[in-house]
Symmetry: C2
Subunit: 325 residues, 2 copies
């Protein structure tokens, strides 16, 4: 490994001072075209890359943001939703010389690490209940944006999908197709995404029986056991709104094993448009990549100290009708 060149060598080769090199590197004003060009050439010739650590230390910026998955299990990593968000985050980060640091541990460690100045801001997703992490970070002055509305309310900006409206549409589709006994497999009640989709179902079901609710944890297994319990409680159900495609996968397995045909006997509507299933799922589509981009854009703007930013952003959802309902 050849020793890598420092900024001094670039300066020497370009015939200018370190400061000028630094200015060119950071796109600062007040640099002559002549100097700029000389520096550029020297950088290329030496294959120079600035030392990030030195940069952070001197510049008081970490040039990195954290993506915090506020869930010890790591369940969310397996969720297609997360994958899409991550793609969006990356896309938005491109060209910002900002690195993405992934974190998954417990609030204690994460909190002190993050507030410790190692990153310039944090994206917190999949936050449950009244997760103290969000307020902790916010109170410490670290720019934070939540992915999904935080239940605690408070002053943390967030980006979310319009889960309520999506759930209403999904349920209405079931109703208007003539289903009479419509159940729902809801998500965790300690997350806004779980609550909002359940509220949407309730809203659309107003006037009808709304006790057919079972809860899952956004895993196929959770969806399967919820479906089993619903089938036991109401064998004659003929429609289910499942609050996540990933849970619908489990539900479909159970329905199949129970000999129920989908959609003939039981119509199924999912949420996310994230998985190919048999039969293809009628579901509520959300643009997860856009979600990730929006999240990142918002955080970067916050870090730059932009004024008048919207406290929160709600992204639209839309029903996609396929075979399952």
């Amino acid at each position: 490994m050849t020793r890598r060149p420092g900024i001094d060598e670039v300066a020497r080769l370009a015939g200018v001072s370190k400061s000028t090199v630094s200015r060119v590197l950071n796109g600062a004003p007040h640099v002559s075209t002549r100097a700029r060009e000389a520096v550029r050439r020297a950088v290329i010739q030496l294959d120079y890359t600035p030392n990030q650590a030195a940069r952070s230390l001197a510049g008081h910026r970490a040039n990195a943001i954290a993506l915090v998955v506020s869930e010890p299990s790591g369940r969310v990593l397996a969720d297609p939703f997360f994958a899409g968000v991550m793609r969006g985050v990356h896309a938005e980060l491109a060209g910002h010389r900002t690195q993405l640091v992934l974190m998954m541990s417990q609030p204690g460690d994460v909190g002190s690490y993050l507030t410790g100045g190692h990153v310039d801001g944090a994206l917190v997703i999949s936050s449950h209940g009244h997760d103290p992490l969000l307020s902790l970070l916010h109170d410490n002055g670290l720019p934070v944006v939540a992915g999904g509305r935080p239940l605690a309310g408070g002053p943390v900006p967030y980006v979310d999908s319009d889960n309520f409206t999506g759930a209403v549409e999904a349920t209405q589709h079931l109703i208007s197709s003539g289903r009479k006994r419509i159940a729902t497999i809801a998500g965790p009640v300690d997350m806004a995404v779980g609550l909002d989709r359940l509220s949407g179902w309730r809203r659309a079901m107003s006037g009808q029986r709304t006790d057919l609710v079972a809860y899952g944890d956004f895993t196929p297994e959770g969806g399967a056991s919820a479906m089993t319990s619903l089938l036991t409680r109401e064998p004659s159900l003929d429609g289910v709104f499942v609050a996540a495609d990933i849970m619908a996968l489990g539900a479909l397995q159970v329905l199949h094993a129970a000999g129920r045909r989908v959609p003939d006997d039981v119509a199924v509507v999912g949420f996310d448009d994230s998985v190919p299933a048999v039969p293809p799922l009628t579901t509520v589509k959300q643009d997860v990549e856009r979600f990730g981009r929006m999240l990142t854009w918002r955080l970067l703007a916050e870090i730059e100290g932009e004024e008048g930013l919207p406290p929160s952003v709600l992204l639209p959802t839309s029903l996609v009708v396929r075979t399952s309902a």
Copy 2:
């Protein structure tokens, strides 16, 4: 935001010098129990976290490793395989005060960034063909471990699953259950994982017709179009070995739409044991989390400069029989 304390303040409060604090922090020897305790207390009292940038700059270590997804599309992010690996990586990283930096861009940027001393090592997964990135990093002296055998061969250590044996078992299961016209949906031929699973199928099929091969790209859509093409070429096929569950999802949709019953008309065996399907997939299971842990362990060992490390590790696979075959 209260200004965060520096090492000097800890030193002052503990009544020792910066050096001693540093020693305690880094678990260095030659520190009295008395001093150690005093420092510990001061650290807690001040809620001190070391500045990572300063540490890297002075210590010539980045205290971070990169997880490089050598694929522009980001397809792999949506792959359950990747999610499992990432969980393993995190698990193994716990307690190593090492951060995980995720990278997805093009070889050019990534290469110079990585060799630029910003991370202490890199995990490269999903590398296609004769990806120059691996050799580039290796030649620059950066510790690297590949996830999945690199096609280029060369001196880069890697961790892989025993894809060949898994594929052989899967295919033998199909054969021994009496299937006569067995096809395969193979993965990309520019990746060892694609090649090895195909070789396993060929090996098990020796003596039989081996032209029923269609290729997919490890996406459900790829699996679907491969299945369509196979069905067209050989309508009477009665078994398929699909080189990835995620592709099997697409294949199952196509079979279902074509009115073929699984497993009655066509038996399907997948690979990965990563998705719940209808009907539940008979598949080759691999322990992806272990894969991630092994990968990380290997890289950390490499970074520590341990001697006599195995150049490569092959993890076992096993057949899980469910309903689809």
